[in-house]
Point group: C2
Chain length 358, copies 2
Amino acid sequence: MARTTGTVRIVGTGLLGTSVGLGLTPQGVDVVLDDASPSALALAFDYGAGRHARADDDVALVVVAVPPDRTAAVVAAELAAHPRALVTDVASVKGPILDELAATETDTARYIGSHPMAGRERSGPIAARADLFVGRPWVLSAHADGRAGAAEVVEALALDLGAVPVHLAADRHDAAVAVVSHAPQLVASLLAARLIDASYETVGLVGQGMRDVTRIAGSEPAMWVQILRANAAHVAPVLTDLRDDLDAVLQALDAPDAAGSPRALADALAAGNSGVARIPGKHGVDLKLTGLTVLIDDTPGQLARLLTEIGDLGVNLEDLRLEHSPGAPIGIVEVQVAPEAASPLVDDLTRLGWRVAG
Amino acid sequence: MARTTGTVRIVGTGLLGTSVGLGLTPQGVDVVLDDASPSALALAFDYGAGRHARADDDVALVVVAVPPDRTAAVVAAELAAHPRALVTDVASVKGPILDELAATETDTARYIGSHPMAGRERSGPIAARADLFVGRPWVLSAHADGRAGAAEVVEALALDLGAVPVHLAADRHDAAVAVVSHAPQLVASLLAARLIDASYETVGLVGQGMRDVTRIAGSEPAMWVQILRANAAHVAPVLTDLRDDLDAVLQALDAPDAAGSPRALADALAAGNSGVARIPGKHGVDLKLTGLTVLIDDTPGQLARLLTEIGDLGVNLEDLRLEHSPGAPIGIVEVQVAPEAASPLVDDLTRLGWRVAG
């Protein structure tokens, strides 16, 4: 039974808008879809994300899911077109939307911004999924001029989609995502660009470390240019600090034997240790996990057999990663389990004939 | 049957040295261990990585596995102490070792440098594993003064340990690892350091992207200071180029509405796309894979059941990743399969009752 009541109108049937529709429709929510692109809209209808708009629609909630640089204008138009509806948006930056609405003297009593922190490297309605938001934070940015009760409506929407509501004012949201999302995107892109002119032999030595650091560098530039321009005021100081630290590292690398150079490098590396230690565990708490490595043959069913036996032993996998060896017919499975489960599991798996290392 | 013949003497029983011993001993190779630290040496004996040295040892190959800043001195000492043995090392930089040996007028005919590209975030003999090198590149850096046949001896060692031998001269090796290993290490550390003073709410919004970019920032500073100082001449130009690109991005962020700023941001992001596209697939070729996402309950046996059913369908998983939703009792399984297997697999899993998205 959905918490969301009344008709939900989704404007913009890209990845996020279509996913909202796909998540709500099976729960019996009446979803209306609209998009400036007839082909994107037709696809979203085909996928079953909602129905066509009608003149007599009594819209309770509008979800604006258009690109960031068009969001404020569409929010204003929807507020005017649906005078009883609450309007939210899903853009990755929240302050600039409020600023744009203020600049056009839009009455924002019925507007509350939000940001579901879900995405994929692919975009468009074809990439949409009903479960896109499951378990992800959905930030709600209430503002001083907003109507009482607005946050509860969007919170219900987030909960219906399996997301975890997080309340954060626009400016604090924008500062936070500059650190955890926008700066990492640019850093990954800048590092990945070093490979453009790299020799074939260099690229051949890329291992898991470089793969991990550069994975998000595959993201779509057009959307990211909009996000970065909109949040430039928060991203710039983060990257300026990083640039200053990088300059200190470069000074040390230019004279590695000079007094102070070893210390400068050690400080940069130790600061990285301290920063990464602040990232919470995957379960949202600082649960320490223990990793095991198991070698398996790279054939169908091997991994399943391993995990069946782990399940039969009553051990819950907290995390799992399968890595193939380049050119080798072998898979390396890294599993993370609760610390107290690790040692008995090593014994049990070894007894069962697995090649396992603690 | 091991390819390696004669007695192998391992000097330095840390992670790499002990792992070499653990990998060779079960194959019947005679392994002698030595370490300046009696406690590290005692641990390596306890783990079964080799035996005590004797005065009458006829050593065929010495593997020097000590920290980078002591490698050249130990190589020189071992060449003198074992006048018929071939000597190799496993340090992450190769040119500076040769330079140091030349500076001390060491005869390097019986020396050939090598670099097994394997490691862990943990160190010491306790972290050692017999399978540490399986499927990883093992770079052999032959040099002009080296004896003929030296590369074949170390290649046999690498193959016995399951590694993939790669021939690369010292300077080219050092240039390559500056790009794929040393620069990423510093970049990850510099980004992770942004979290030190981040608010609790900011850290709470860290998602998979930030986790991936900063994972290797957890590495041990002391060892990395040595590596970075030794390879400073190659790392500095890579990071200087990155700093120049970062300055262009910062200029655009400081004036996001100025002419040229959107283009500068788009160029940086597109360059990241181009760079990451050069990374070969996990199987060493540019195999395109298709990803599926399946939601599972976070209970023992669920993942095993899923993978059993995938195995029963005859589909080989090319990659797999399990992600927990913070605070939600649900797991998100991302599997990668060959493109032709994806669509039937979605149908089959859906029919079997799994919640799956393409």
